[in-house]
Symmetry: C2
């Protein structure tokens, strides 16, 4: 870490010119920092002659959103780069391309995806991208299968578990997803109109027990190399392409967590739609969202099942009846995790624009209440919901009530 | 590892005299090697003047039972020493005392437990030790609780997961417990009279699926620092004392595995008793064994529940309803793991004297068949057996049939 220094725009420009084989020798480079995330600097360096561009992302030794009083190891840049490079090897079509990782500078150089849009923005704008759900289902199935014990030999797999131990970032999830929202905590942040529902959640031991089961699995099930933070702000989309970025939360965890995070984020948008648009427009887009959720699950399940049947190396896991049970367990837990995402984004520290963009406090409260009720229903009933159609019925029933 | 050399009896004696602060300067030492295990040399060094003694255990760079063609890392001695030292810190009353660990020599110096008997021998001799079950239940509850996420902070716990990654030894369990017995494999070794039952087991996809679920948990649930091999040959006992040894299989795994291993070993003895003694003697001792199984579970469950209620550091896991669910899940999986121990010790590579000591092939086959039927019943019905009394009813019903 002796060579670490915090970059400014000129540093980023010079680095892109001198240390990366990408731009032409006579490139006319400009650099600007545009990071809006919580933990990092993000620079875009463009050659004004050719229009070609690169992204440089640098981890800061503290959480940007809080400041130097919240130190965070820059090792997360190493984790992010290694997760993305491994995921890219497995699923290049849906993982951002990493051009270079500089460990001394905690700096990742990657392709610029300016011809894409952040998925969350696309959802808020009610864009009906036809392929995003299928693409993300494929990404999940491939990256999770090929990093699991179904495919890797146990020695390789255990070495990767050690390589990707990520306590600092995992702790953020452990606290913000599973702990804070279910009790009074200074980090919580919610619309005052939700007070009575929040109190109900925070005094429901049955709900808390179910959430604790999910938290315990998050802490203990080292099943596959997760992205760890596949919310709709970590995915770039356009009509034909879907690319996952931002894997600093990556670690060996429960397969269902990544799957549930994606579904949970579409449901946050679902919850927000009545506050973001006219009633009938919202209803139409909600159908699109439910269809995308179907696509995510069906694509994930079909591809994961196909891979289990065709590529499982361990003879003990080649039993068809086992594979069905394993996939069903992923489904049940994914629905539970989706529920926790709905609740933590409404009550907890980190919110989403799908709800926060709703201007009227009352209207926002109504949508947020929908998110909270749906979250609770999914967490409590996950093991009774047989399949994705049952989940969708549950969603629609709650939305109509 | 440059200083590693394989010890002979003189090396052990000289080492005990010069490198360990234990014997008096004028001690009259004798040394002999008596290891009957599969992987190590074991020396006993005695001072003939005082009668005081020490055990020196050295890991060989190959599996002793097979020879140099099966290389094994001597890092397992480091793992064994570190597991035992940590377990001793948590539960000194039931863990062998480690005097010294020499990493260069892969050598563990420990207290001599010659005033104890190996538990398996005591069981074969039908000794009714009153406290062994309670002691081992206490050992399991304490060592597993205090190394888990219930007690450790997540950062410490994740560091320990990495410290105890133990792929070579885990692979032995993964293969021998969960894979080989359920399909034809050259490592399998069983009484020819069991052929039809073995074929039944090896063509039962429902059983194989349940076993695969247990194997997947063994590979993926990094819940606590297991001993990893708590069979009745890894426990020293006498009327008043119980001491666990031999932790080279230690790793972060499912809590239920250690609990199930112990129960499975008492059930192997239960299965063997009719071949080891007269019918009425066997019946009396079987009642003792069932009572010990009750003691193990009740002591473990009561102590683990007490610790969860009193010492759980993570507020998310302090919910009483969660703690009940978590303990019930440990119970269900422990019964499943006990079932796999019964089957692998009868069909697989490594047998136990509780069955192998039965001289008549026919009588042995009858007892082994009992072990196989019980093993299958436990694996298949674990989730329907509500409590330990239901398990005991299931055992007795099968024994009577």
């Amino acid at each position: 870490m002796t060579d670490y220094r915090i970059f400014n725009e000129t540093d980023a420009l010079n680095y892109a010119r001198q240390e990366v084989e990408f731009f032409a020798a006579d490139a006319d480079l400009v650099s600007n920092e545009f990071g809006d995330g919580n933990l990092n600097l993000v620079f875009k360096v463009v050659d004004q002659k050719s229009g070609r561009s690169l992204i440089l992302k640098q981890a800061l030794p503290y959480a940007r959103c809080v400041g130097e009083s919240w130190p965070l190891s820059t090792d997360r840049a190493r984790i992010e780069a290694e997760v993305l490079m491994l995921h890219e090897k497995i699923c290049p079509q849906h993982t951002v391309h990493i051009v270079k990782f500089d460990r001394d500078l905690s700096l990742i150089v990657m392709e610029d995806l300016s011809d894409h849009l952040i998925w969350r923005s696309a959802l808020i704008q009610r864009k009906e991208l036809p392929l995003a759900g299928q693409h993300i289902g494929t990404y999940l199935a491939k990256t999770l299968f090929f990093t699991s014990d179904y495919y890797l030999d146990p020695q390789q797999k255990k070495a990767k578990v050690a390589q990707f131990i990520n306590p600092e970032l995992c702790l953020i999830t452990e606290d913000l997803f599973f702990t804070d929202p279910y009790r009074q905590h200074e980090r919580n942040n919610y619309n005052p109109l939700l007070e009575s529902e929040v109190q109900k959640i925070q005094s429901d031991p049955h709900l808390q027990a179910k959430v604790a089961l999910l938290k315990y699995k998050f802490l203990n099930q080292a099943q596959a190399l997760l992205h760890g933070d596949v919310h709709s702000g970590s995915v770039f989309v356009n009509e034909s392409s879907t690319k996952v970025i931002d894997a600093e939360f990556g670690f060996y965890g429960p397969i269902a967590f990544d799957v549930g995070s994606v579904i949970g984020n579409l449901l946050l948008n679902y919850a927000g739609q009545p506050g973001l648009s006219e009633t009938h427009v919202a209803q139409v887009y909600r159908q699109y969202l439910l269809d995308q959720i179907r696509q995510i699950w069906f694509t994930f399940a079909a591809e994961f099942a196909r891979l289990m049947a065709a590529e499982t190396t361990d003879v003990a896991f080649q039993v068809a009846e086992y594979q069905q049970l394993a996939l069903q367990q992923i489904f049940v837990d994914a629905i539970g995790y989706a529920g926790t995402e709905l609740i933590r984004r409404t009550i907890g520290l980190a919110h989403v624009a799908d709800l926060d963009n709703i201007e009227s406090t009352e209207q926002r409260a109504e949508c947020e209440l929908g998110a909270l009720k749906l979250g609770q229903a999914l967490i409590k009933n996950a093991s009774e919901l047989d399949d994705i159609e049952a989940v969708i019925q549950c969603i629609e029933k709650l939305a109509a009530s």
